[in-house]
């Protein structure tokens, strides 16, 4: 079967050179060879000597139609990823047809596709290889766009994917059905052109999604008997969204309601405390830009919004998800600032997050000859009380304040000073204990004039009186653009464990090919991508990563 498909695409590929069709694709490979490390007490057994996850995607498109496939081969799953991903299979295949008929653009997809309604609180079908998430939907999708995109409708139905099964058999038995509508009111009412300078632009959107699980797993059935409730086979989610834009100011709001569903009644999701409950979410956003200053403010409240593609009383894995609830706080990119990331409390959370960006222009008193960028951001997140919480009012779960100032001193030298003050409640507000940490980073890049050679260095310090106390870190990168990069880094916990977490990496880039070879010791902790995190156990070893698009 695999060889037959290869031959089919060989034929298509040869055909693409003769016809007007386009063949594009991508290849992604990530392999880690683990070594035993007595310092971090990590051992290597014959069945976990290595992890390797590999992806190949091909898309062929002609004038009105397209088709594609995706293959994955994971002979051994990388530590921390969902074990259901082990194996190899054709995990996705689709055909697409699109044409404009009478002013309406029609696109029909049959097979596997990704989709998102609004900000993803109601539905997000997507792939994130850092997290091991791929919940593509196998079924059909129709998208219509009329009046130059002023009215857009999407209707879909299908079965979401979980793990790797045999050939094209990675689907769950959960059936999704939904629709999404987006209307630009100004265009519909014809007031855009006449009153463009007076009225803001209004966009009204809404969606619904039904999740149908025909069979109740035996563990869930036992839970429902013990709790004296009956688990519904259908859960309906509805949402309404409004976007208002006027020049540099925009306001947005999204409200989502999820029908009665099985939910844990404990903030931390104890496996013993289950019940039925509705869910709801409210997301509000505002942004404005004036002169060289821009600001954004986001507020969000969640209640029982965890939405899994299938119910289980067992361990919840990252791959078993239907919606997107990233943490509201700033995604940290420096090693020590991201040491203890906050993860969203889908069962009950309220939060606010804001950013202020200020560009001090060139040749100004404060900006100097080359200008300067200042950013201040912060977030405050509360855990909302749920049935079995020991607090009856919102309790602080996480807060942070981040400040960075970026200065270009000359055509060669650019520096960043970054400070992050973070406080986290490890019990998510259940107790008064909090862990505070202050992170300081000095980051500098020197690019030699008229040369492809550049050096990047970071010095980082984390001050804390809790957990593993103080850390320090250093990063040194030497780059020879556009092909070669070398990097050395070390994180050292000198406050408690006295362990070095070192890494050495060499990268090579050639066009859309990038290969990285590294060796290092990695601590146990959370790995985050796009505000969503997964647990990663400690490991030491060598890693080869290849990314290629064509």
């Amino acid at each position: 079967m695999a060889l037959a498909l290869g031959a089919a695409f060989l034929f298509l590929g040869a055909g693409s050179a003769r016809s007007q069709g386009r063949l594009t694709g991508s290849f992604d490979s990530n392999t880690i060879i683990y070594t035993a490390d007595p310092v971090t007490h990590t051992e290597v057994s014959p069945d976990n000597r290595y992890g390797s996850m590999n992806y190949l995607k091909l898309d062929y498109g002609a004038k009105d139609w397209g088709a594609g496939l995706k293959m994955e081969y994971h002979p051994s799953v990388i530590k921390g990823f969902d074990a259901s991903l082990k194996g190899g299979s054709l995990t996705g295949i689709y055909a697409r047809w699109g044409k404009t008929l009478g002013g309406v653009k029609v696109e029909v997809t049959a097979g596997d596709f990704y989709e998102q309604f609004g900000s993803g609180i109601a539905l997000r079908s997507y792939e994130d290889r850092e997290l091991g998430i791929d919940n593509s939907i196998g079924g059909a999708r129709i998208a219509l766009s009329a009046l130059e995109g002023a009215v857009r409708v999407k209707v879909l139905g299908g079965f979401p994917r979980y793990g790797i099964g045999s050939m094209l058999n990675s689907r769950t038995t959960t059936l999704l059905g939904g629709a999404d509508l987006s209307v630009r009111l100004n265009d519909i009412l014809g007031i855009d052109k006449e009153n463009a300078t007076l009225l803001p632009l209004f966009t009204l959107e809404g969606s619904f999604l039904n999740r149908h699980e025909g069979t109740v797993p035996s563990d869930i059935e036992a839970l429902s008997r013990a709790g004296g409730f009956s688990v519904p086979s259908d859960v309906l989610s509805t949402s309404a969204r409004l976007l208002v834009e006027k020049g540099p100011v925009s306001l947005s709001g999204e409200w989502v309601h999820k029908g009665r569903d099985l939910t844990s009644t404990h903030t931390l999701g104890s496996l013993l405390d289950w019940g039925l409950g509705d869910g709801d979410a409210l997301l509000l956003g505002a942004s404005a830009s004036i002169g060289n200053v821009s600001a954004t403010l986001t507020g969000r409240q969640l209640r029982n919004m965890e939405d899994r593609m299938f119910r289980t009383a067992g361990a919840l894995t990252e791959g078993n998800t239907l919606n997107y609830l990233p943490s509201l706080c700033q995604m940290q990119t420096y090693l020590l600032a991201g040491l203890n990331p906050y993860t969203t409390l889908a069962r009950g959370e309220r939060g606010v997050q804001g950013d202020l960006y200020w560009r001090l222009p060139r040749r100004s008193a404060l900006g100097g000859k080359y200008g300067m960028n200042i950013h201040i951001g912060g977030s405050y997140i509360w855990a909302l009380p749920v049935a079995l919480s020991n607090h009856d009012s919102p309790a602080m779960a996480y807060r942070d304040l981040n400040f960075d100032i970026e200065k270009k001193w000359s055509p060669e030298l650019r520096t960043v000073l970054f400070i992050s003050i973070q406080e986290n409640s490890p019990s998510h507000g259940q107790t008064s204990r909090t862990d505070a940490q202050n992170v300081f980073v000095l980051d500098g890049t020197y690019k030699f004039r008229g040369s492809p050679f550049s050096i990047h260095a970071e010095l980082q310090y984390l001050y804390s009186q809790e957990l593993t106390r103080d850390w320090m870190a250093g990063v040194l990168e030497v780059n020879f653009a556009p092909h070669w990069g070398l990097a050395l880094s070390d994180m050292y916990n000198h406050g408690s464990t006295k362990v070095h977490y070192y890494s050495a990496m060499c990268s090579y880039s050639q066009g859309a090919l990038r290969a990285e070879l590294s060796f290092g010791r990695n601590r146990e902790g959370m790995v985050c991508s796009g505000g969503v995190c997964r647990f990663r156990p400690a490991y030491t070893g060598g890693q080869l990563t290849i990314k290629y698009s064509f």
Partner: protein
């Protein structure tokens, strides 16, 4: 045996992909401008000047470094060779407001910004990681792509743009 089959399949598919990339064109998809209006990406082609698409997101640090470098250099470059740069954000609707606010607050005022909210353009070009830069000739053919960013990559990008402006560009094959 199954492993060998898959290995053979993947090698075959990669071999297929290589010649295909030489004939790749800008896909016919829509993105949004800062006021959320839909724009056909191919409508940016004017038949006269090449364009550079620099893909970024508001949570990607190397992307911001690349946009800083392009902003610093674009004024001098465009005096030497006429071409255009479009920064394309792939932020989804959750972080879109931040992505729209950032250019002004970061001083990225040298070129326009577009928003690939539904990732249609990213999917059309099979972009799986950013920063990702694409150089497109005046007729819409993709002449150069680059994944990742390190200081100095912008100079290599400009060299590719300059090649497209030479009289023999029409006869040159992509590297």
């Amino acid at each position: 045996m199954k492993t060998i089959h898959y290995a053979i399949l993947w090698v075959a598919l990669l071999l297929v992909g290589t010649p295909a990339l030489r004939s790749q064109e800008l896909p016919d998809v829509q993105v949004q401008d800062p006021s959320s209006k839909a724009i056909a990406i191919r409508s940016l082609l004017d038949g006269k000047t090449p364009i550079v698409l620099a893909f970024w997101s508001s949570t990607c640090k190397p992307c911001m470094k690349e946009l800083d470098a392009l902003t610093d250099n674009f004024g001098d470059w465009s005096e030497e060779v006429p071409f255009r740069i479009y920064a394309v954000s792939n932020d989804d609707s959750r972080s879109l407001t931040r992505a729209k606010a950032m250019p002004q607050g970061r001083g990225w005022d040298a070129f326009p910004f577009l928003y690939d909210v539904n990732q249609d353009l990213c999917r059309g070009l099979n972009i799986t990681a950013i920063p990702y830069a694409v150089v497109i000739d005046k007729d819409g053919k993709i002449a150069y792509t680059h994944l990742g960013y390190m200081p100095g990559d912008e100079d290599a990008l400009f060299e590719e743009v300059k090649k497209l402006s030479s009289p023999s560009v029409g006869k040159k094959k992509r590297k």
